[in-house]
């Protein structure tokens, strides 16, 4: 217990990095995922193929490899840098990798949602002369989003938990690394582990609760 109290400020600072990563990656992944799903249902075969290729490649690659590749490959070898400060640079590399990875799951969730929109909706949209983008923006996506609030919440929870993999991207400020660092100093400490678990649950459980409430509130009556 003493260990937990002694290291609490350090671990809390680390956990806040996880929260920061989650917020930024969550927003980026939602945007990128929506763009991807638009590509995957586009009337242009080239866009559909590109979207499918991206989703299948990135989704089937382990996140550890995605992040390690962003850091060691893209940054160190190819020279993609976001900032001169190493820790800021690796922060944005992790944001890059984690958003690119999570976006594929957002895309798949949304695509499942699009498949639940009844045929008549798309037909009606075409009948009143909406173009593809208009019908997607005004008719299809709003209904699709409402049906996949719960799965999207699930994707977000997984992403919050995945921020701990930031270590693989060389970002050494967040809580999983700090926990390992602390264990190197003091040996294993059950209170520290449980403290972090509770901290993560304090974020993921409300996300799950709110999204499932929202899901039933927003559900489209059919």
């Amino acid at each position: 217990m003493d260990d937990l109290i002694k290291y609490a400020p350090d671990l809390l600072a680390g956990f806040l990095e996880n929260v920061k990563l989650s917020l930024i990656c969550g927003a980026l992944a939602l945007v990128l995922g929506t763009v991807l799903v638009a590509a995957r249902v586009a009337p242009t075969p080239v866009l559909r193929a590109a979207g499918t290729l991206y989703v299948n490649v990135v989704r089937n690659t382990p996140l550890t490899l995605v992040l390690a590749f962003s850091s060691l490959g893209l940054s160190d070898t190819i020279g993609l840098t976001f900032s001169e400060t190493p820790s800021t640079n690796s922060f944005w590399l992790v944001v890059f990798g984690l958003s690119a990875y999570t976006a594929t799951f957002v895309c798949e969730a949304l695509r499942a949602g699009i498949n639940t929109v009844p045929l008549g909706q798309a037909e009606a949209a075409r009948a009143i002369g909406l173009t593809f983008l208009q019908s997607l923006r005004l008719i299809i996506l709003p209904q699709a989003f409402r049906t996949v609030v719960a799965p999207l919440g699930s994707v977000m929870i997984a992403m919050i938990k995945n921020t701990t993999v930031a270590i693989a991207g060389g970002y050494l400020m967040e809580s999983a690394f700090r926990m390992r660092d602390t264990f190197d100093d003091t040996g294993v400490s059950i209170p520290i582990f449980l403290g972090l678990v509770v901290a993560f649950m304090a974020v993921t459980l409300p996300v799950g609760f709110v999204t499932s409430r929202l899901a039933s509130k927003l559900a489209v009556a059919r």
Partner: protein, 289 residues
């Protein structure tokens, strides 16, 4: 709704618009691809020299195949343990005794909510202080994967048994079967068929999650391919990443294809009265690290 319903068979204006869109997207995608190619080329990543190690048999026999075996070993052991764990705790959650249900529920819900990497780190540091010195990378990885994926599988088992229509259980009771007989002879055989696709999907997640072993230096495909090969063949980092990436993608896609095939088969199966179940979504299950 299939996606091609979103747009009509286009008329002249629609065709023109689609052609313009196609042309634009080809230009944009080609420009992006060329930009990536040029950035890689500027750093000499397409030089034959750094790709040559992958034409060598020894690279495969000494690094990639042993690494792949390490990954498959961790995934295989974890899969078996997780299935056992999932079966026990899934059935315990369906128990008629409230305390058994409560304990199993608490265990399953907790392990599902813990970030897997934190759990693996914890077990990795816990093992030496309990069992004394030694190499615990495999044990920590397998234990972490088992506890996490086993908990998800427990939920799948529970959902699978619940997906069997109540008439089946009532019929079993009506012909005088005991609780254990009803479970063993009527409910489980149908539930297993219904949950097979979900189980295979979760095993894909498990296989991908073994890559977390890289972080605790377990010798798997990622470690061999991404740490050792670039250390031995200087400069081959990007080719190594691409080669092992392709191996991972091939492995995962073939397992996913198996899951899809099983699901299609279950939908038309007369071996079960239950529909194939989808994995529980509330805690990010089914989405690997």
């Amino acid at each position: 709704m299939s996606t091609n319903i979103l747009f009509d068979a286009p008329g002249p204006r629609g065709r023109l618009r689609n052609n313009v869109l196609t042309l634009l997207s080809v230009v944009v995608l080609a420009a992006a691809a060329y930009y990536v190619y040029a950035r890689f080329d500027a750093k000499g990543q397409w030089e034959g020299e750094i790709w040559k190690p992958f034409l060598d048999v020894s690279t495969w026999t000494e690094y990639i195949i042993p690494g792949l075996l390490g990954t498959l070993k961790a995934a295989g052991i974890s899969a078996v343990c997780a299935l056992v764990f999932g079966a026990i705790f899934g059935l315990a959650r369906l128990s008629d005794h409230r305390w058994v249900r409560g304990v199993a529920g608490a265990v399953v819900e907790t392990f599902r909510a813990i970030p897997l990497l934190l759990l693996i780190f914890f077990l990795f540091f816990l093992a030496p202080s309990v069992f004394g010195g030694g190499d615990y990378t495999l044990i920590a990885l397998v234990a972490g994967l088992t506890l996490y994926n086993g908990s998800v599988l427990a939920e799948i088992v529970r959902a699978g048994v619940r997906a069997v229509p109540t008439g089946q259980a009532e019929a079993a009771q009506a012909i005088g079967l005991r609780k254990s007989q009803m479970m063993r002879l009527v409910l489980l055989p149908q539930a297993v068929t219904a949950m097979m696709p979900a189980i295979v999907s979760q095993l894909v997640v498990l296989l991908k999650d073994t890559a977390l072993g890289y972080i605790i230096a377990y010798v798997d495909l990622l470690n061999m391919g991404f740490k050792l090969i670039p250390a031995v063949y200087f400069g081959s980092l990007i080719p190594a990443a691409i080669v092992i990436g392709v191996i991972y993608i091939a492995l995962n896609m073939s397992l996913s294809a198996l899951a899809n095939w099983l699901e299609r088969r279950t939908r038309h199966s007369n071996r079960t009265a239950a529909q194939p179940i989808t994995p529980p979504v509330d805690t990010g299950a089914g989405i690997p690290a």
